[in-house]
Structures are given as structure tokens and as C-alpha cells.
Amino acid sequence: MKLTSREENSIVILEPRGKIMGGPDATILHDQLHEFIDQDKKRVVIDLAKVEWMNSTGLGILISGLTTLRNNGGELKLARVTEKIESLLTITKLITVFDNYDSVEDALKSFD
């Protein structure tokens, strides 16, 4: 997994690429999320367009990211979830927990 990030209107946009699996890969995303929280950047959009697949560890990272952000008065939103991951979110019913948008712009707008 590779990870880039940018900011727009003080909203952090994370763009992971590849597979979000366990191991050192996963900790990058986890650490990055917690770094933003530490920097008081609590509005985060994760653009999942380039993520082919994630396993349970990957899901765990999203869940803990969301929990931590919410506990700190922030929010985590997903954008451009691929079909495969959407089905994963559907099965696990996590689709009801995560706000999930068709485009990054929509996700950004939802913060207004």
C-alpha cells in the first residue's frame, strides 16, 4: 500500500493505493490518521478509488480511525469506494456506519 495525503479547506484527504492488508503496510495508514488527530486535523476523507482490496485488519484501521476521530469531535468519510470493498462494507454492515460518497468533492461538501 502507498499513501499520499493532501489538504483542501482544512480537510485532510488521504489517498491510499493498492491493498490495505495487515502488517507494516497497515500501520502507515493508522499512524497517519493519528498524526492528523494530534495536529488537530479532525476532518478526514479517505479516497478509496485506488484501493483494490482490504482485509479485516484494513477494516479495523478504518473503524479505529472513525472511532478516534469521532471521540475527538471529528469525522471520517469515505469516497469512491470500489465495488469489491463496498460489498465487504455491505456484508459487515459497516456501510451503515461509514458515510460514503461517490466523489471526493461530494465528501468535502458534506462537511459544510
Binding site: S56, T57, L59, G60, I63, T67, T92, K93, L94
Partner: protein
């Protein structure tokens, strides 16, 4: 040989040994202040017994030897101011040394004056007779006669002094001795290095006893005009002469006094042992004649020759014995490098941690080589070396490429000043300055720098010899080998730890599984689980609730290994107790989810399908908490997914769940599985998938559950043939019997 000759021989031997010691010590470091002073002191000390020996053996017999010539032997008394000087700088210069350096040099003056006096004014009468003058020029004559008169008065005064010069200067010598011993004693108390203390103690004891005996035998009796009998006096002086130089030799040989090199120590030992043996041989041969004469009553040249030949025959084995003894006692002492290496390699053979290795290296070098401070660095990353210390955030040494290459090409210990110009001022340069490094020892492994030793100066200003450097090179090789075994040990430990952990996880997982399948009138069951190599969080369970009702669980906890297994175990306990409590399924899942969410940070969760089968009614109540939808294939081949339920367990608290319901008809087949099965991939990264799974169920649905299960497993394995498993694979089949 009479007693007098023996005494002369002992004087000669001790005088020569003192000269030899002076030579060895001076040769070791001709520029070292301590070595210079020590050798001067020993040199003057050696003149004394040599003079005594010369006087006793032949000078005594020569008539008309001028007094001034005999008096010139007083030069040996320069030993006393030299001893005082030595005490001020041994083993390290005292603080007062720098302030009173001049005073210490002035301390030589009285003795020099005494020497000049006893040599040039040995016979004042003769000098006086020379000082008469008659002149024909009245004025010059008057002046000169005045000058001569003054000179005559001085000469007369000196002549008067000479009457008790020996007593007077004995007092001065005694003062020197007392002062020197006091200073030596206080210097000794300040020493912290144990081995240095040991050798200094030997030297101080030796000097104290030697000088003390001389004081008692000669100085004190001279001052107080006591008449000691000759044998007592001679015995004391000889004992002093043996103990004094003997202790210094002992300190050199046994404790590397003044850090004298091994070769010098060896030669010292051999010359002393040879001197003893040859001396003994000569005495016996010389005495042979008189012994034979007393035995057979007359002189016999023949017998003399015979005795000498027999003695020669004995001499060789005796010499070998002495040689062996000396080697055993002295050369293979702790100071010997080969022995240090031996004990060092023994010590490090049980060390498997880098910190401990570094500590052993530091201890050994400080103890055995008198090095004040030793720093050990081991490689951390490319050209970055970490100083091994208690502080894990401790300093790092970062090295420039050409410095690195220089050290690699050098392959051997080197002096810091050789490289300080080549060092990067910012990093290694700092380390050099900070630890006042004198010698750098590169630890080279397969043409890479595995580490570095920074050695400071030695205690008491001892210097590094070429012997030290070659020793350090061998030591470095041993450290490198030890470092390798540290690494291997760490790797094997890590591997072992992981394997043990996996074994534990596997054991936990196996422990969760039910012993047998439930027996029901209208249903038959099959279950299959295959843990992955890393052991995931899969498990299935059958929970007997009543004679009619059985609970079925299939779950997959996130993560792998022991944490996943433990999470699963907690979940199982919760499910089993809640299920037997007879709660409604949605309430049951609600409280299990709350419990698991509270005790986990959200990163750990499980997908879980729980169902209860009623045997009589052929009915299934179920709640699917985020698990892969179980597939129900009806007898007619149509398929349904069991989706009702709610969110995965353990992620968010206070989630609501729903209960679903299925009515079985005979011949219907329900298959529960985990993603390890549906996501098993072939070599084109294509998943087995739900579609293929459904088709398989359909294909084998008329068979008993056991057959359906094994056919599905076989089919999945064929599909993903040759692909290493990534996840646990679990399958539960429930089939409504047809009769």
C-alpha cells in the same frame, strides 16, 4: 668461597640487576618522564652495590688508592633525591608536582654538593698546602694572598665539615627517604584502577623494605654512631638489595609494571633465571676443588674435571626445570595476552546480547590493558554506529564515506591522530574529542565495518605499544565472531518466539472447537476447519441449548495469531453463556457486541453468524453480525442468502440487531463459511467466490452433509492448487434430512 666473596657476589648481582631494570624501563619508553626518572633512580641505586662489590673484591687489596677515587662512589647517593622525584610522579604526577618541580630538582643539589666535596676536597691538607703563594709583585701578591686566605678558610671549613659529612648527609638522605615514602603512600591511596593499585603496592612495599633496611643498617647507625656488627649490617643491606629490585622486577613481570612489553618481561625473567642457575653452577664448580680436597684428603685435578662434567650433565635438566617453572609462574600470568584472549573468548562464549558483549569488552580492556575509558559502537544502519550504553537514545556516530573506506582498508587498530585529519569533524571527530580517543579499533566483518572501539589513553600515562595493537587486532576478530553469534541468537530467538506464539494460537483455536457434531432427528451436520500457517481468528461451534434446540456459530475475528485467538475465545464464552440463558437472538447479539466493543479499541472485531435450529419445527432463527452470508440451497436448487442481523461485533457499541428466520424443507442445505474459503484464489488471482460455492452446493445437495462438505473443500483446494493459504478456511454444512 668465603662469606666475603658471597657478599661481593650478591652486591655484584643486585647492582647488575638494577642496571638491567633501569635499561628495560628506559628502553620501553625513552621519552616518558616516569620511565626516565625510574631508570635514573635504579641506575644510581645500582652504582651502590657495584661499588661495594668492586671495593670488596679487589679495590680493597690495592694499596695507595686515592681517597677521592673511592669517594667518587658517593655518586650513588643521587638515588635519594631521585627516589623523592620518583615518588612525586609515580604512578601519576601529584598535583603539587607541577608547582614544586623546581624544588624537586633543587633536591639534587645537596647530594651533588656532597659528592663534589668528598671528591675534590677528599684531602683538605693537600689542598691547603697547594694554596700557599709567594709573589714578587706586592700589590697583586697582596690581593692574591687575600684570595688564597679566603680559599684556605673555606677549605678549612669544608675540612671541618668533612669530619662529620657522612653523618650530616645521612640525615638529609633519611629525610628524603621518609618524605618519599610518605608521598608514595598518599599517591597509592588515590589510585582507583585495581590492577594498577596491585602493582604499585608491590613496588611501594619493595622500595619501602629495601630502603628501610638500608636506613636501619647504614643511615641510622651512622647518624647515631651505633656500631652494628658486620654480619648483621651486611645481611640487612643484602636483603634490602634483593627485595628492592626484586619487587620492581616482580611488578614488571607479574603486573606489567609501567606497562612493560611482553618481550622485555620475558627477557627479564630469562636473564634473572639464567643468572641464578649459572651463578649456582659457577659457585659449585668453583667450590668443587676444595670439596674434593676435603673428601679425599688431597687435591686432584682429575676429580675436579669429573665433577665439572657431572655438573654440566645436571645443569641442563636443572636449567630446563627452572625455565619451565619461570614460564609457568611469570610468563603465563594474567598479564599475558594469550591468556587474556583465552579468558575473554571463554567469557564471551556465553554472551548473546550486544550490551553484555560491549560490557565484557570494556571490562577486559580496562582491566587488562589499563585503558582509562573504552567506548564500544555497533553498526545500526549504513555507516551509522551506535555507542552501546544504557541509554537507548544515546549518541550515534555517523561516518563519512572516505573515513569508512579508510578504516575498512586499514583492517587493523590505528592511532586516532592518524585518522583525525581524515575524520568528519562533525561526527566521528566529535566522538574522538569527547572520549579523548587515542586508539581506534575497527571491527570488520566480511569487508564491512560491524563496529568500532574507541580507546582512551591508558592510566598513569602508559602508552600503546605495537604489541598492544596486534593484541587488539586479535581481540577485534573475536568480538566480530561474538557479534555474529549475538545476531544469530537474536534471529533464532525471534523465530522460536513466533513459532511458539503460533503454536499457542493454534492450541487456543483448537480448544474452541466442539468435540463432536450435534445429533438431530431431522438434520445432519458436517464441519471443516483448516487454520492458515499464521493462524487466523476463525472458529465454529455447536451449542446444545435443549434437546430440541442447538446453537450454531461461525465467526472470523480480525487479525491473526494469539490476539485474534484470544478475542475469539472471549467471544465464544460470551456466546455460550448468553445462548444458554435463552435470550432472544437480537438481545443476545446486542449485549455481546457491547461487551466486545467496550473491551476493544474498535480495531479488533469479529464477523459472526449465530443461529438456533429447532429440530421439531425444522426452523432456524439466526442473526448475522457482518459475516459472509451463509448460503441456503433449497431442494429445488434455488439459493438464498442469510443476511439479516447487524453490524460486526466489537467495533461500535449500542448497535441494534435483527433476527431472521428460515423454515427448512427436507433436502435443503445450509452452508456457513468464512472468507478464507470464498476468497481462496487461483494462480490468476481469481477468487473461488460465492457463485462457484453456490454451484458446488447445488451439485452435491442430495448427498449427506459430510459428503457436501468434503466435496466443497476438495473443489476449493483444486481451484487454489499450489497457492499458499493466506487465511483460515472454515466450513459448516447443515442439511435437512429427507426421511
Amino acid at each position: 668461597m668465603n662469606i666475603g666473596q658471597l657478599i661481593d657476589l650478591v652486591y655484584l648481582a643486585s647492582g647488575l640487576s638494577l642496571f638491567m631494570l633501569a635499561g628495560v624501563i628506559f628502553r620501553e619508553n625513552p621519552a616518558g618522564r616516569l620511565n626516565i626518572i625510574a631508570s635514573i633512580m635504579l641506575f644510581f641505586a645500582g652504582i651502590g652495590p657495584l661499588a661495594a662489590s668492586a671495593y670488596g673484591s679487589f679495590l680493597e687489596g690495592i694499596p695507595d688508592i686515592p681517597t677521592w677515587l673511592l669517594n667518587s662512589f658517593y655518586v650513588w647517593e643521587l638515588f635519594f633525591p631521585a627516589l623523592l622525584y620518583f615518588s612525586a610522579i609515580f604512578p601519576e604526577p601529584r598535583p603539587f608536582y607541577y608547582r614544586y618541580k623546581k624544588l624537586l630538582q633543587i633536591a639534587f643539589l645537596p647530594t651533588v654538593f656532597h659528592l663534589l666535596m668528598v671528591v675534590f676536597m677528599a684531602e683538605p691538607e693537600r689542598v691547603l698546602s697547594l694554596l700557599t703563594f709567594e709573589s714578587s709583585f706586592p700589590i697583586i701578591g697582596a690581593i692574591l694572598s687575600l684570595v688564597f686566605e679566603i680559599l684556605r678558610m673555606i677549605t678549612a671549613f669544608i675540612g671541618f665539615l668533612l669530619l662529620f659529612h657522612s653523618r650530616f648527609f645521612s640525615i638529609i638522605n633519611l629525610a628524603y627517604v621518609v618524605l618519599a615514602l610518605i608521598i608514595l603512600y598518599y599517591g597509592y591511596k588515590r589510585i582507583e584502577n585495581l590492577r594498577l593499585k596491585q602493582q604499585v603496592r608491590v613496588v611501594i612495599y619493595g622500595i619501602s623494605i629495601g630502603v628501610g633496611l638500608y636506613t636501619l643498617a647504614i643511615i641510622i647507625p651512622t647518624i647515631f654512631a651505633i656500631n652494628l656488627t658486620n654480619p648483621v649490617r651486611d645481611a640487612m643491606v643484602m636483603l634490602g638489595l634483593i627485595v628492592g629490585p626484586g619487587s620492581i622486577s616482580w611488578a614488571i613481570v607479574k603486573y606489567q609494571f609501567l606497562d612493560i612489553g611482553l618481550i622485555a618481561r620475558k627477557s627479564l625473567v630469562y636473564s634473572i633465571s639464567t643468572a641464578i642457575v649459572v651463578g649456582g653452577y659457577l659457585i659449585i664448580v668453583m667450590q668443587a676443588g676444595s670439596i674434593i680436597q676435603s673428601l679425599i684428603g688431597r687435591e686432584s685435578q682429575m676429580m675436579n674435571v669429573l665433577v665439572i662434567i657431572v655438573m654440566l650433565l645436571f645443569f641442563q635438566p636443572i636449567y630446563t626445570q627452572v625455565d619451565d617453572f619461570v614460564k609457568r609462574i611469570f610468563i603465563r600470568s594474567r598479564g599475558d595476552f594469550s591468556q587474556i584472549l583465552e579468558s575473554f573468548s571463554r567469557e564471551i562464549s556465553t554472551v548473546f546480547q550486544e550490551e553484555k558483549l560491549a560490557a565484557t569488552v570494556k571490562d577486559t580492556l580496562k582491566r587488562e590493558m589499563f585503558i582509562e575509558n573504552v567506548e564500544v559502537c555497533f553498526r545500526e544502519t549504513e555507516r551509522v554506529y551506535k555507542l552501546v550504553s544504557l541509554d537507548p537514545t544515546g549518541p550515534r556516530v555517523e561516518m563519512e564515506e572516505h573515513t569508512y573506506n579508510y578504516l575498512i582498508s586499514k583492517q587493523a587498530p590505528l592511532f586516532a591522530d592518524e585518522i583525525s585529519s581524515k575524520m568528519d569533524e562533525r561526527c566521528l571527530g566529535d566522538a574522538l574529542k569527547h572520549h579523548s580517543t587515542e586508539v581506534i579499533v575497527p571491527l570488520i566483518r566480511k569487508d564491512e565495518l560491524a563496529g568500532l572501539l574507541f580507546l582512551s589513553s591508558k592510566v598513569a600515562g602508559f602508552r600503546y605499544g605495537s604489541e598492544d595493537l596486534s593484541f587488539l587486532k586479535i581481540l577485534a576478530n573475536q568480538i566480530v565472531v561474538a557479534l555474529e553469534s549475538c545476531e544469530l541468537y537474536r534471529e533464532s530467538l525471534e523465530k522460536q518466539r513466533m513459532e511458539e506464539e503460533l503454536a499457542v494460537a493454534k492450541q487456543i483455536q483448537r480448544g474452541l472447537l466442539p468435540g463432536e457434531l450435534p445429533l438431530m432427528r431431522n438434520f445432519d451436520f458436517a464441519a471443516f476447519i483448516e487454520p492458515s500457517r499464521q493462524v487466523g481468528g476463525d472458529y465454529y461451534d455447536f451449542i446444545p441449548i435443549s434437546s430440541e434446540r442447538t446453537g450454531i456459530v461461525i465467526a472470523d475475528a480480525s487479525g491473526k495469531g494469539v490476539p485474534a485467538a484470544l478475542f475469539t475465545a472471549r467471544m465464544q464464552v460470551m456466546i455460550q453463556s448468553e445462548a444458554r440463558f435463552g435470550k432472544r437472538l437480537e438481545e443476545m447479539m446486542f449485549s455481546i457486541n457491547n461487551f466486545l466493543s467496550e473491551s476493544s479499541s474498535g480495531e479488533r472485531f469479529a464477523t459472526c453468524f449465530y443461529g438456533e435450529i429447532d429440530d421439531n419445527e425444522r426452523r432456524l432463527f439466526y442473526c448475522n453480525a457482518g459475516h459472509n452470508y451463509p448460503i441456503l440451497v433449497r431442494k429445488n436448487g434455488s439459493a438464498e442468502s442469510l443476511k439479516k442481523g447487524g453490524l460486526i461485533l466489537g467495533a461500535f457499541p449500542e448497535e441494534r440487531y435483527e433476527t431472521g428466520e428460515v423454515l427448512f424443507e427436507p433436502g435443503d442445505v445450509l452452508v456457513l463459511y468464512t472468507d478464507g474459503l470464498s476468497e481462496a484464489m487461483d494462480d490468476n488471482n481469481i477468487e473461488f467466490g460465492e457463485q462457484r460455492l453456490t454451484e458446488n452446493i447445488r451439485k452435491f445437495r442430495v448427498h449427506p452433509a459430510e459428503v457436501i462438505s468434503s466435496m466443497i473443500v476438495k473443489s476449493v483446494k483444486q481451484f487454489a492448487a499450489g497457492i499458499n493459504d493466506l487465511d483460515d478456511m472454515t466450513l459448516v454444512v447443515v442439511r435437512a434430512k429427507e426421511t
